[in-house]
């Protein structure tokens, strides 16, 4: 087999040996960024002269990948919401007789909490872009806190609803409610976990103004979770 240009460089060897020394590797640092583009050669005859295009990459791989993931996630919810709408506006009376009403006020407050967490997340990102590690930590912690509160309040409401006899199998009303809101809750939970990891790494001073892709990715996911909620609130809770 012919040899490849990409044989082990000393630098790679260094990284290999240095892996015990707890040296940190940023996610985007090796989630397969493109090869260092070789400088475009002078155009040959017959070139329409746009040989440069491939190098100009608006966003890095990690961010682009995340954007795409958010796209799928949105479609996933779109389908669930579609189903919900079919049932809500197809039903004679919604919620069906004998099924409890949903806690509009409390959840309204909860909505505010979640939206606020979106702001703190934005703050966190702005801080690290300016290299203010401390501000990053504070805001991340705050965001995680708000997120957790949101979850706790929801959990509490769910327990009450279950008490009132609203279950997955009690009616299609319950089914759609728990599936749709539950999926969102799971997303929030996952996002909080991730947020905690990022926060912990922030406390280790892993992020700088130059390199904080992990924060960016996490915040992107967080925005999706946050921005989805008001829509769900309008659809599911308010009539």
């Amino acid at each position: 087999m012919p040899a490849t240009a990409a044989s082990v460089s000393p630098q790679a060897a260094y990284e290999w040996s240095s892996r015990d020394s707890g040296e940190v590797l940023e996610l985007d640092h090796f989630s397969g960024n493109p090869p260092p583009p070789t400088p475009a050669l002078p155009y040959g005859p017959g070139d329409d002269g746009d040989d440069g295009e491939a190098e100009s990459r608006p966003v890095g791989n990690a961010v682009l990948g995340m954007l795409l993931f958010l796209g799928t996630d949105a479609m996933f919810f779109a389908a669930l919401i579609g189903a919900f709408i079919v049932f809500k506006y197809g039903a004679l009376d919604w919620p069906p007789l004998g099924q409890p009403r949903l806690p509009v006020m409390v959840t309204g407050a909860n909505t505010v909490i979640l939206l606020a967490s979106g702001l703190t997340m934005f703050q966190a990102y702005r801080r690290i872009r300016r290299g203010a590690a401390a501000g990053l930590q504070k805001n991340l912690a705050l965001t995680a806190l708000l997120g957790t509160t949101f979850l706790l309040i929801q959990g509490y409401e769910w327990i009450k609803l279950l008490g009132y006899g609203l279950t997955l199998s009690s009616s299609v009303y319950g089914a759609t409610f728990y599936t749709l809101i539950g999926c969102h809750a799971l997303h929030v939970a996952g996002a909080v976990l991730w947020l905690l990891v990022v926060w912990w790494r922030a406390t280790q001073g892993r992020f700088t103004a130059a390199r904080h892709t992990a924060v960016l990715l996490c915040s992107m996911y967080w925005y999706l979770v946050v921005l989805l909620w008001p829509l769900l609130y309008l659809l599911v809770y308010l009539n």
Binding site: M1, P2, A3, T4, A5, A6, S7, V8, Q11, A12, A13, E15, W16, R19, D20, G22, L25, F30, G32, N33, P34, P37, T38, P39, A40, Y43, G44, P45, G46, D47, D48, D50, D51, G52, E53, A54, E55, V59, G60, N61, L64, G65, L68, F69, T72, M75, F76, A78, A79, G82, A83, V86, A91, L168, S169, S171, V172, Y173, A175, T176
Partner: protein, 715 residues
């Protein structure tokens, strides 16, 4: 680090990244297992779960960011145990929990292997199992697909037998005719059947349950065609067209070292394998495998009382949800790679059409699959948690499933054909020694097909009771798809026009693809017309259509691609003579198998029926059904020629003496053969489009994309 051959720096990084991900997963799973076990307290395997959780937790912490050869490999052992135990639990109990255990164990298995591979990147495991190299992953998907094709095809032959000779025992394994009449056993098989069938339901063996006396039972017939379709679509065509060709071709053809996210890429294959295992396990659970058709219409599929299938149906949904994750990883990878990692000069409109098709398909997957996933989730809840999304009794809506399924399902069928179109568009120019006709038109046609594919799903539901006005709009949008398809067809013809055509094996299959796709597409027009569809809906006319587009289209495309890129994949050529034999036998027996199905359809022959003789108006067609079955067996066994040729030439085939045996322009032929890690000796620079063949005033009739040659501007 003295190695057999050098290893790329980024591969080291990749393997290291996976090691970290894996440790993290171990820690998280460990904690979850302990917590959940203490919370739920499952009556079965409580201690086992605790032990597993603790082991994982400790193991994860100890290996966190430290390369530990043995500690890191340990999960391979208990992971395997856990997977096997889970599978066994899942099948015998039967419980979904068991299969969840299987998935976890399976991931630990992969993780353990990954750790070994990290320490021996050049061992078999490192290069063949836990490879992060897009080419090897492509080959892995290929193997998966071809093996699954034996299964899917085997099922087809099995139920084809039933259709031709209803309730007649299979030769060899079936009971003898005399035995069926007289009742006293003649052959050895008879005796066996006797004792098998004397046992009572519970301890009867698999054969006795599904094929009493060696004849396919009606319930089993339903699982057979359900799994036939499920396997062929999700485990044959998608893995090969998208998994194999997508992985192998994208980085090579756009001139980069590898996929954007190699770890994700590797995982996407193993997740697919896991989902495959779950899917196949369905055959061994009590109650048999899913039997509601690959479309799994509700409320039939949602309620075990109505299908008579309990766990099998659940596993079908579960497995496809898992498979969705795999495809998701793949498509994110493809899109990112194509957008971000093209070689210098590889502008969008210098990309080969194969890449365009895979790019568009990845986008379709990205948007269509999650819809299926949430539909499947609802179905799964209906099946297991007693919700009633699709059951009228609980206020559900049966048609909702059809809308969600086909909203995914129609884009899905274009997911099955677009890559094949892409492959054909590569092969036709090369062997006509001529630029593709209307490159941009071809691109925009694919975009149009992909776009229109979103607004036609209702054409599967014309007779479902859906609002007739909707029916009309869906009819119009559906018919419009003939337009971009026309553009493609005629541009393929245009490519042949004035060419210098070489009838190599890939070319033959590519030509076969074009003609068969046209037949399949034209039959689609009949169904698109709402009144006509009222008659041919759910008849063999549809079955004929399916197979012309999906076998004559996708599978012919696959064969074309395999014969064409085999030299680049394995550094050897496939035997051309046997290739031609394979093509002609396939082409003829394929048409003998599926063309008569149009006639059956016109005669009103319903699909999905186990025994046509139950209907007086179908008795006249029995001869035709026998003919179809015989042709199907010829078709099936013809594929063995391919199988042998393929496997033999992989090891013993004639070595290629050039990196570019077909004298083609695209970048993969610039790379060494077979391409090493990192593909190219140096990142190539692209100077013009991929189809510059027979440029006037040159001694060679091809201009590799990397060559700075005089080519009319704009190309």
């Amino acid at each position: 680090m003295a190695h057999a051959h050098p290893i790329s720096a980024d591969e080291l990084k990749q393997r290291r990244l996976f090691g970290e991900i894996f440790s993290a997963v171990m820690i998280v799973t460990g904690m979850l297992f302990v917590l959940l076990t203490l919370l739920i307290r499952p009556e079965s395997g409580l201690l086992a779960r605790l032990a597993f959780g603790v082991a994982a937790l400790v193991n994860g912490i100890l290996t966190w960011r430290k390369p530990q050869k043995w500690l890191g490999t340990l999960p391979l052992l208990y992971g395997t145990l856990w997977a096997v135990w889970g599978l066994q639990q899942g099948i015998s109990t039967p419980s979904l929990l068991g299969f969840a255990d299987f998935l976890v164990g399976f991931f630990f298995l992969v993780g353990g292997l990954g750790n070994l591979a990290e320490h021996h990147p050049h061992g078999f495991i490192g290069t063949h199992l836990i490879s992060m190299d897009h080419k090897m992953i492509g080959k892995q998907f290929l193997t998966l697909g071809l093996l699954m094709m034996i299964l899917g095809g085997g099922f087809a032959l099995l139920f084809r037998w039933q259709l031709a000779y209803p309730d007649k025992p299979l030769p060899l394994i079936g009971a003898s005719a005399q035995f069926l009449e007289s009742g006293e056993p003649k052959t050895g098989m008879d005796k066996l059947w006797m004792e098998w069938l004397q046992k009572d339901e519970s301890e009867q063996n698999w054969l006795a349950k599904n094929m009493p006396m060696g004849a396919v039972a009606p319930a089993f017939y339903n699982s057979l065609f359900t799994m036939h379709a499920t396997i062929m679509i999700f485990f044959v065509v998608m893995p090969i067209l998208i998994g194999c060709f997508g992985n192998f071709l994208i980085p090579l053809m756009i001139g980069t070292r590898d996929m954007a996210f190699p770890v994700l890429n590797m995982l996407s294959f193993w997740v697919a394998v896991a989902s495959g295992v779950v899917m196949l396990a369905g055959f061994f659970v009590p109650g048999g495998h899913a039997a509601a058709g690959w479309t799994s219409y509700t409320p039939l599929a949602a309620n075990a009382a109505w299908t008579g299938v309990d766990m099998g149906q659940v596993l079908w949904s579960f497995s496809l949800i898992v498979l969705g994750v795999s495809s998701l990883m793949g498509s994110i990878n493809y899109i990112t790679t194509i957008i971000n990692m093209r070689a210098p000069g590889m502008t969008l409109f210098r990309m080969p059409l194969a890449i365009w098709s895979l790019f568009i398909v990845a986008i379709l997957l990205l948007l269509a699959l999650p819809v299926l996933t949430s539909a499947l989730a609802m179905l799964l809840f209906d099946q297991t948690l007693g919700t009633s999304f699709f059951n009228v009794a609980g206020g559900g809506e049966p048609l909702l499933w059809q809308h969600l399924f086909w909203f995914f399902g129609h884009p899905e069928v274009y997911i099955l054909i677009l890559p094949a179109m892409g492959l054909a568009s590569e092969i036709l120019p090369v062997f006509s020694r001529k630029p593709i006709f209307g490159y941009r038109a071809m691109v925009w046609a694919m975009v149009a097909i992909a776009f229109l594919g979103w607004i036609v799903w209702g054409h599967h539901m014309f007779q479902s009771g859906m609002n007739p006005r909707l029916g009309t709009t869906f009819m119009i949008s559906t018919m419009l798809i003939a337009v971009p398809s026309a553009i493609k067809t005629f541009n393929w013809l245009g490519t042949l026009w004035g060419g210098s055509i070489r009838f190599t094996v890939p070319m033959l299959f590519a030509l076969g693809f074009v003609s068969m796709f046209v037949i399949g597409g034209l039959s689609g027009i009949y169904m698109a017309s709402t009144p006509v569809d009222m008659f041919i809906h759910d008849t063999y006319y549809i079955v004929a259509h399916i197979h012309y587009v999906v076998f004559g289209g996708s599978i012919f495309g696959i064969f074309a691609g395999l014969y064409y890129w085999f030299p680049k994949m394995y550094g050897r050529l496939m035997n051309a003579t046997w290739g031609k034999v394979h093509f002609w036998l396939t082409f003829v027996s394929f048409n003998c198998t599926f063309f008569p199905m149009h006639i059956l359809g016109v005669g009103g022959h319903m699909r999905r029926i186990a025994n046509p003789l139950q209907y007086d108006f179908l008795k006249q067609f029995q001869g035709m059904n026998e003919f179809i079955t015989i042709s199907a067996f010829v078709l099936g066994f013809t594929q063995l020629i391919f199988a042998v040729n393929f496997v033999y030439c992989m090891f013993k085939g004639r070595q290629v003496e050039s990196d570019n045996p077909w004298r083609a322009n695209t970048l993969e032929w610039v790379a060494p053969t077979p391409p090493p890690h990192g593909n190219f000796m140096a990142t190539p620079t692209v100077h013009h489009g991929p189809y510059e063949y027979s440029v006037p005033g040159r001694e060679t009739d091809f201009v590799p994309q990397t060559e700075k040659a005089a080519v009319p501007a704009g190309h």
